[in-house]
């Protein structure tokens, strides 16, 4: 009786149980808010109540030790409640200014043994919030780069923008370690993406044991895989390398087709995407740096290129103007110039809807 005594289909806990009293009492009654300083929000309710939120950066890869520390803080200042944002920041909510000051002081004082902040306050308004990301070498089998390390390296460099609100608008940086793009990376102001550049190796002797060959063949979006036989007569596949675009979908379907390679794998940078419908429509990020090497652990090339883009944007964009809107206003030709990036043939679309990206106008800048 395996089902005996099992509780299934409980679903998540009801959200109401986890709301601090001030949230329960003012649910749906909020009137407006204020960002008191970077990382500190004040929301005012029609009941007159106020709630102060302290937003702290976090590596979303956390140990139970760290979570316990979060709980300890929440117990001390926040009546035992805490929340996490959609970008993996931690939010501590208090309902008085005094509580707020004490909490802030406490948070800022906490550092890891290695010296980094445990709870840096920031991530609000016109700045850079936490970099959402994926598993990388920590847990996934398909990555073309590592996630946590790159995010740490880039976040260190962008720290001033996390702590400040000095940009023209929000700037969202996201990271994914392969083209599966576990996240909204494809619509980020700046997206860092791990990807392969070598076609899969076929594990000829084992593929027929490990995989359903027809599924592997069908998985290829560009039809680069076809059935084949080994010399010994075993079923296998062959890959038309010159057709392959290294998407890795075949490997997802069949483990006998690994792509990873130290020299092949690396990072591409996309820019100019957004999610919000504010002023302009949501849009996709565009590839602006075709490839950078995986220089573990601190990815200096990636960091440098991100920095270039952020700084050019900070300098050039208008207030409220998202990165992609800025690039469109000045023209992509200027974007490359102002960011000091090279335009290469790799950046010209050659996939399915490519025609729609061609310039069919004489409006351009020299």
């Amino acid at each position: 009786k395996p089902q005996e005594n099992r509780l299934t289909d409980l679903g998540p806990r009801h959200f109401w149980e986890f709301f601090p009293p001030v949230i329960q009492e003012n649910y749906g009654k909020w009137l407006y808010h204020d960002i008191l300083e970077p990382g500190i929000l004040a929301h005012v309710s029609e009941t007159g109540a106020k709630v102060y939120t302290v937003r702290c950066g976090a590596a979303r890869f956390m140990t139970v030790q760290h979570v316990r520390e979060i709980c300890e803080i929440a117990d001390k200042y926040c009546k035992g409640y805490v929340r996490f944002t959609t970008r993996n920041n931690i939010e501590f909510l208090v309902d008085s200014i005094e509580g707020l000051e004490a909490l802030k002081k406490d948070l800022e004082s906490r550092k890891f043994a290695g010296g980094s902040f445990k709870f840096p306050i920031g991530g609000t308004g016109a700045g850079i919030s936490n970099i959402v990301h994926t598993q990388g070498y920590i847990h996934c089998h398909t990555p073309a780069t590592d996630a946590s390390s790159m995010v740490k390296a880039v976040s260190d460099e962008l720290f001033e923008y996390f702590k400040g609100m000095t940009l023209p608008a929000k700037l969202r940086v996201s990271m994914a370690c392969c083209l599966n793009m576990c996240g909204a990376v494809h619509c980020s102001d700046i997206a860092l993406l791990g990807y392969h550049r070598k076609p899969p190796i076929v594990d000829h002797e084992y593929i027929s044991k490990l995989c359903e060959i027809p599924l592997a063949i069908a998985a290829c979006p560009v039809g680069a895989i076809s059935p084949d036989k080994t010399e010994s007569g075993k079923k296998t596949v062959k890959i038309k390398s010159e057709r392959c675009m290294f998407c890795g979908n075949c490997y997802t379907m069949c483990q006998a087709l690994p792509l990873s390679d130290q020299e092949g794998d690396g990072v591409t940078i996309l820019a100019g995407g957004k999610i919000s419908n504010r002023i302009s429509d949501p849009k996709f990020s565009k590839v602006v740096v075709p490839w950078l090497p995986n220089s573990f652990p601190r990815f200096p090339e990636v960091v440098e290129n991100v920095k270039k883009i952020v700084e050019a944007y900070a300098k050039g964009a208008n207030k409220y103007e998202r990165l992609g809107d800025w690039a469109e206003r000045i023209g992509w030709e200027r974007f490359f110039e102002q960011c000091g990036l090279e335009f290469t043939e790799h950046l010209i679309d050659d996939y399915r809807l490519a025609y729609d990206t061609w310039r069919t106008s004489t409006q351009f800048k020299f």
Binding site: T8, R13, Y32, M62, H66, V82, N88, Y137, I279, R298
Partner: protein, 434 residues
């Protein structure tokens, strides 16, 4: 346990270091008494060791996931094995469990602490707060611990695991009414209701592929539903933006800082309502008449800009509801898709029968027509939008497209064309010689 010079580099710098954090847990696990820990004591150390090696070799050392899970469920657990099990035995098995997060991710510390204790005892003590879909992700345990963990989640924590595989994935929502004045519907309530109502779809894969719901309370899109959910619910309104003219004057006078202070870090000069709001309005439907701000609401496209910029003066209307958009997905296979507006407006009130009815119509079609591993968005592209809306019974609306088609390749149906398609060549030839 290992030399990890590269990882040590990642302890430097101001941003919270996951390496430092992992090291503190590694240390702690060494010290834990045997009854506080049931799985591998040096799982964290082995993980760091393998990670360092991955940096050296530039390749991951995780094998292709195996099929593991809890009884009766088709998802929620991702199997994971190291390809260097001999070298790093403590992470030979390193499965993750996706715990369905509470809507908008508020927690009581009780709940979190209980999870921590359970997870130190039965797992690696490593987790993600949160996974990209929204789950609270427990990283790394062995196959034999899966059932006990599931048992404890249910019996002790009164909670469930989330989705993976070809099923409904753990839905997620923005903070909405809990702490946001812009929320046009109750994102938590709808998220919770649909999650629970569709538990079967969440736990027992019967779909062609994964399916994601996400709930944004307004067009600001704080949970990014438009980019990453097969069905995206975005709050909106169809009456007038509420204006407090006194507050408008205060903004103009410089008494209130614009955009709730989001730009405080730099001196952008005095607030200029014309340049910063009226001129940037995408539908150009605002104007100042004297000191009154006038909005031609019928032309407003509800982009939120004016409201975001002057939150004390402007609010969304009161006849609120949702827009439903379909088909967002990541690039595999045909390139990324953003969600497409399918229902411009619908009310969103409990018990949400109108929404459930729509959800089920879409699923019915997808389950019937969708190929294996075909996301809804890809199916929409394959069958084409006109056929898709016809099948799910939506009337065509210009709101569904940016612009009408530019090619004249209209697929007429036989019944639309007088006289039908069956014609006789001899009849034709009676008029036209060869």
């Amino acid at each position: 346990k290992y030399e990890i010079p590269k990882l040590d580099e990642l302890e430097k710098g101001p941003w919270p270091s996951f390496v430092s954090d992992a090291k503190q847990e590694a240390l702690r696990r060494r010290k834990l008494s045997d009854d506080q820990i049931l799985t591998h004591r040096d799982a964290v150390e082995d993980l760091l060791g393998q990670l360092e090696l991955s940096f050296d070799e530039g390749e991951t050392h995780w094998k292709h996931g195996g099929i593991v899970g809890v009884f009766g469920y088709g998802g929620g657990v991702i199997g994971r094995y190291s390809d260097l099990a001999e070298k790093y035995p403590s992470i030979a098995m390193f499965h993750t469990i996706r715990v369905n997060q509470p809507a908008s991710k508020f927690y009581s510390t009780d709940f979190l602490k209980t999870i921590c204790d359970m997870w130190e005892y039965r797992g690696s003590g490593l987790m993600n707060l949160h996974g990209s879909t929204g789950d609270l992700v427990l990283l790394g345990t062995t196959t034999e611990q899966l059932e006990p963990i599931f048992y404890e989640l249910g019996h002790v924590l009164d909670t469930d695991i989330g989705g993976s595989g070809s099923n409904l994935r753990t839905p997620a929502c923005c903070i909405g009414k809990a702490r946001c004045e812009y929320a046009c519907y109750d994102t938590q309530a709808l998220c919770y209701e649909l999650t629970n109502y569709y538990q079967d779809e969440l736990h027992r894969p019967a779909f062609p592929y994964k399916f994601k719901f996400k709930f944004d309370g307004c067009p600001n899109g704080c949970v990014a539903s438009i980019a990453r959910s097969d069905m995206s619910f975005i709050g909106t309104w169809r009456d007038d933006i509420r204006i407090d003219q006194d507050a408008v004057k205060a903004y103009i006078a410089g008494d209130i800082v614009p955009n709730a202070g989001a730009h405080k870090g730099r001196d952008w000069g005095k607030f200029d309502i014309q340049k910063e709001v009226i001129d940037l309005c995408p539908s150009k439907c605002m104007s100042l008449e004297g000191d009154q701000l006038v909005i031609d609401n019928s032309e407003c496209v509800r982009c939120m800009h004016c409201i975001n910029t002057m939150p004390k003066a402007l609010k969304p209307g009161v006849d609120t509801g949702i827009s439903i958009l379909l088909g967002a997905k990541a690039p595999i296979l045909d390139g990324a898709q953003m969600a497409t507006l399918m229902i411009p407006f619908m009310k969103a009130e409990a018990p949400y029968d109108n929404i459930k009815e729509f959800v089920e119509k879409v699923w019915e079609f997808w389950m019937e027509e969708g190929k294996n591993r075909e996301r809804l968005g890809e199916l929409m592209q394959r069958v084409t939008l006109p056929k898709f809306i016809e099948t799910i019974g939506l009337p065509p609306a210009p709101q569904m497209v940016k612009a009408p088609r530019s090619n004249p390749y209209i697929f007429w149906k036989e019944e639309d064309v007088k006289g039908g398609w069956n014609r006789d060549i001899n009849d034709y030839r009676s008029r036209h010689k060869r």
